[in-house]
Amino acid sequence: MNDLPNRARSISSLRDFLELLEDSGQAITWSDPVMPEPGVRNIAVAASRDANGAPAIVFDNITGYPGKRLAVGVHGSWDNIALLLGRPKGTTIRELFFEIAGRWGDQEAQISVVPEAQAPVHECRIEQDINLYDVLPVYRINEYDGGFYIGKASVASRDPLDPDNFGKQNVGIYRLQIQGPDSFTLMTIPSHDMGRQIMAAEREGVPLKIAVMLGNHPGLAVFAATPIGYEESEYSYASAMMGAPMRLTKSGNGIDILADSEIVIEAELQLGERELEGPFGEFPGSYSGVRKAPIFKVTAVSHRRDPIFENIYIGRGWTEHDTLIGLHTSAPIYAQLRESFPEVTAVNALYQHGLTGIISVKNRMAGFAKTVALRALSTPHGVMYLKNLIMVDADVDPFDLNQVMWALSTRTRADDIIVLPNMPAVPIDPSAVIPGKGHRLIIDATSYLPPDPVGEAHLVTPPTGDEIDALSKRIREMQLGALS
């Protein structure tokens, strides 16, 4: 375990990662009998309470699914994310943030191609009498979901109007509701890559084939979950960010897929058809509405021997969804802000996909933090998501909520906040009066500079930096040592 970075780079599959997690005490097997509902949900929610240290849980004794395996919580804690990034358990969120931010745009993609006949994902193949319920140990994720959902699927597709273009292949995470043994609906919006492709296929009357990958290289879910440029391959991007190769092969319907995934469902869009979908307990902790969504017909399923169905608990936070996408939501905002304002020292957009963000900035002049906040609202993610922004000084760690609360308590003047009315907003925000539109809040909790009235109080400056970080770790190790 002394070579965590190399071990992380050698991961090529969910199985590799589960082995690493198990070796580190970060994966457990749940072998007691458990009912699909409400048993699986209850255990997943209980694990989510420990955002720092929760293990992945592999179920292998779900009633009615003999011999089938289900994994939840694979990305469900910061310790699991740390191990994925080649860092030890106990690495702080701030350190993980800089680990990801430091990889941004720095590395080369390494893509290798595995012949289909040698790809583990094709070990078993189902082309007739397809029954998703027979392959996947599904369960109702939240109790009023409209059906059985696949919540952690990476969906790969080619641009229906430019099918030979590798860069225009899309890989994204979309929620899928099973609609009978060989059909599912897919929820997306027009601005997402999949939404664009569905609308293009229907407009031109051309087929749209997709491959739904389940139980994937754990880096793909982290780095394919946040939108990148339409013509940038998510595989290349995930490979570059992991600093490791991605092994690709072809699905039976001709799409590039990960060679080592557990399960791949091949399907085709039913042009122009819509079926009732939802509700689904979504990341803000509220249910989506019922809508008519595009439906796909399954044409084949490939899977490894004894496949592991990987799913996620998502709902009212804290959940695996928050640890899965939080850092990679924060890092692009940081990088984009730094292009204009190098005074920005860290960005925390962990909360509900950035509905609340906390930005650390060194004030260049009085009021400067507000300027930075307005720039944040115009970043690609900020346009829809950054609803509440808390601006703190550069010496406040935005990932340490005790420090953020200190800043709010002592730096905020209540007449010095900004409300921007009637801005665009993510429609799924349950506080919306009109879904898709809402107010933005900027709280400037940075210190004052002339010509602001500064006041007479002088701040305490406790010791910080590497020496204190090292002492803190030593204290923790001594504490753990006292137990052993």
Partner: protein, 74 residues
């Protein structure tokens, strides 16, 4: 006995999609309502699948399916 009445829209005629077995015996059945697409397992708690126990907030009006918006319109 498994009911074929949908817990969400109260329509009848649900179809059986799958049965889970344990040691050869059926331990639960997954049903699907062709009217509102609600899917359920007959072993779930009553508050999720029994129309008498289920919250009205999550009911679907089988007589007014037009009210549900269609996504991705050209």
């Amino acid at each position: 006995m498994t009911t074929t009445v949908c817990g969400r829209c109260k329509s009848s005629g649900a179809v059986t999609d799958h049965q889970g077995r344990q040691d050869g015996a059926v331990v639960w059945t997954i049903l699907r309502c062709p009217t509102c697409n609600f899917s359920w397992r007959d072993s779930e708690p009553a508050r999720a699948i029994d129309p008498a126990a289920r919250s009205a907030d999550f009911a679907v009006d089988a007589g007014d399916l037009q009210r549900y918006p269609k996504i991705l319109q050209q």
